[in-house]
């Protein structure tokens, strides 16, 4: 039947496209195991003796560990802080809705629409005066604020799905709102809270407007460190690749695992 032939073509087409789209990442990963000479050789070397020198050298020559630490501190710190603000707020709006709840949610969403460049200058000057430039604390504050609306929205959607009867029963038994939140709701909503947190970590980890503008060395996360390879002096492609591979691999894996939740989070629940 022509059906099986059609399927063969479909398979070939789909796989060719997938491999082409993924190719730059694959090539970067491959380059990270080459020597610098192999990295820029023409024709490109496909078969070579893999080396781990680039990885050890990235750690030895630059303060790579510090940039990694900054990225971890900024993305996880801002996520925890955003959750601390958002969990109570989403709880209040999901279980005690008022007439104003939809408007509050939409207003929170609208703060996300502010183009960062529109407030770049004042934030830069404020940070300068408060000595927050090039600090982890400074970026942590910004990331908390830019992710807070998304975190509230996602949690709100998850909390809506928690059966109200369970909380109701707790309330009848005399649970106070705080007890209800911490002892009943949070344990029930752990999967939702976790995937919300993951989205927030991914977004903060890859954020590259504020990190490039507000941090350059001491407080710089990986995004800013990688950008320092853009200078035309010298071709350190193998080292750039090694540093990049380590910077993207964990987030790529996390992103792959949570793609479903990402969709509803990134579209504010408009696409599920």
């Amino acid at each position: 039947m022509s059906d099986s032939r059609q399927k063969l073509w479909l398979t070939i087409l789909a796989w060719t496209i997938a491999l082409l789209v993924f190719f730059p990442i694959f090539w970067m990963a491959l380059t990270s195991f080459k020597t610098e000479t192999e990295a820029i050789s023409t024709p490109p070397s496909l078969f070579f003796v893999p080396t781990l020198d680039n990885f050890t050298e990235v750690f030895a020559r630059s303060n790579y560990a510090r940039f990694v630490w900054n990225s971890i501190a900024v993305s996880f710190g801002s996520t925890l802080l955003a959750l601390a603000f958002a969990v109570p707020a989403a709880y209040a709006m999901a279980f005690f809705p008022t007439k104003r709840t939809p408007s509050i949610l939409l207003w929170m969403l609208s703060t996300k629409m502010m183009p960062p460049v529109g407030v770049l200058i004042p934030i830069y000057l404020l940070f300068k005066n408060l000595s927050l430039l090039d600090t982890v604390t400074g970026l942590l504050i910004i990331y908390t604020l830019i992710n807070l609306p998304i975190v509230v929205w996602m949690l709100y959607t998850y909390f809506k799905d928690v059966p109200g009867e369970i909380l109701e029963a707790g309330r009848v038994d005399g649970a106070k709102p705080m007890q209800e939140l911490f002892l009943l709701l949070i344990p029930l909503a752990v999967p939702g809270i976790a995937s919300t947190g993951l989205l927030s970590v991914i977004l903060s980890w890859n954020e590259a407007f504020w990190s490039l503008n507000l941090a350059s060395s001491n407080g710089a996360p990986l995004t800013a460190f990688i950008a320092s390879f853009s200078s035309p002096q010298g071709l350190f492609w193998a080292k750039l690749s090694a540093a990049s591979l380590m910077a993207i691999a964990p987030i790529l894996i996390v992103g792959w695992m949570s793609q479903r939740q990402l969709v509803s989070g990134l579209t504010f629940g408009a696409v599920k």
């Binding site: 990442i25 090539w27 996300k112 183009p115 200058i121 490039l212 790529l252």
Partner: protein
């Protein structure tokens, strides 16, 4: 919305509101977001009507709309607005077209579909500075890049992307990052398409093209509009990709509004002038935001 069942308090959540004071729970989030939204914006607005240059601190004072007047007279503004439009428009078209086609393709059954899908969404999770540098160095480099090597195999003169086609190069990089986003959203949307409806259309003799245009595309229309709006908000102020590849150049060939504001404000330290540009960016983004908020709120009412 009517109160037909007064005997079932559980179905009337509004009743409970008076029992619990939710303000301490909600108030912190609202307060920080309110400050975050209002303080810097007010400062930008204020800076945009004063004379404020960090390099000449003795020049101060209220100048009214002078910064705006200078800005509108500056050809750089119009170039940057045009570049922003070209960048956003091209990337939107590319991502929506390819996102839709990929969603249809990867919704079919074939061996290894799950892995193939993962490969296609991967670029979206790569940090922008890494994507831009991988493309700039390893793909598009005129001497050592893979594209140059392929061209030389075919006997074509290698292209110096960032000198001759800088905008195209930037568009390719950004589209590579955002096609996966459109694909991911549209694939999710296409999966909610009713199989019975598709089956019925097939029995009625609809060919694949008719199926696509009369069933799939209308079904995807709202998801596509969501993709367009969310991408527009991010693309309006694309920065990192330009920062590591072209730095707005050559000349002003890839200077978008974000880069113009950055270079005037943080490289030339003309705070007043840059702030006027910032206000223009805010106004532009808000026009898009109104549409997005409207779409999302319609969804909120349906829920």
């Amino acid at each position: 919305m009517t109160t037909l069942a007064p005997t079932h308090p559980a179905t009337k959540p509004a009743r409970k509101n008076r029992e619990v004071d939710t303000r301490p729970l909600l108030w912190p989030s609202i307060a920080v977001l309110f400050l975050w939204m209002i303080v810097p914006l007010a400062m930008t607005l204020y800076f945009s009507v004063i004379r404020y240059n960090l390099l000449s601190p003795d020049l101060t004072g209220f100048v009214g709309l002078e910064n705006y007047a200078f800005l509108f007279d500056d050809p750089a503004l119009w170039t940057s607005l045009w570049n922003t439009l070209v960048l956003v428009g091209s990337v939107l078209i590319i991502t929506v077209v390819f996102g839709t086609l990929f969603a249809v393709l990867y919704n079919q059954e074939f061996p290894g579909r799950g892995v193939a899908r993962l490969l296609v969404i991967a670029p979206f999770f790569v940090m922008p500075t890494v994507s831009a540098l991988v493309w700039k160095n390893m793909m598009m480099h005129p001497v050592y890049g893979l594209i140059a090597w392929l061209q030389s195999l075919l006997g074509i003169q290698p292209t110096d992307w960032f000198s001759n086609y800088p905008m195209l190069a930037v568009i390719i990089i950004i589209a590579w990052q955002w096609v996966p986003f459109a694909f991911l959203i549209l694939l999710t949307a296409i999966q909610s398409l009713d199989t019975e409806q598709k089956e019925a259309a097939r029995i009625d003799g609809a060919g694949p093209l008719a199926m696509f245009f009369y069933i799939t595309l209308p079904h995807l229309s709202r998801a596509i509009s969501v993709v367009i709006m969310i991408e527009t908000i991010f693309l309006l102020t694309i920065f990192a990709e330009i920062y590591v590849t072209t730095a707005g150049g050559p000349g002003t060939a890839t200077t978008n509004l974000a880069w113009l504001i950055y270079s005037v404000g943080l490289l030339q330290f003309d705070v007043g002038y840059a702030s006027a540009g910032g206000i223009i960016a805010v106004v532009l983004a808000n026009i898009v935001a109104i549409f997005l908020v409207r779409t999302v709120s319609r969804n909120l009412q349906q829920a």
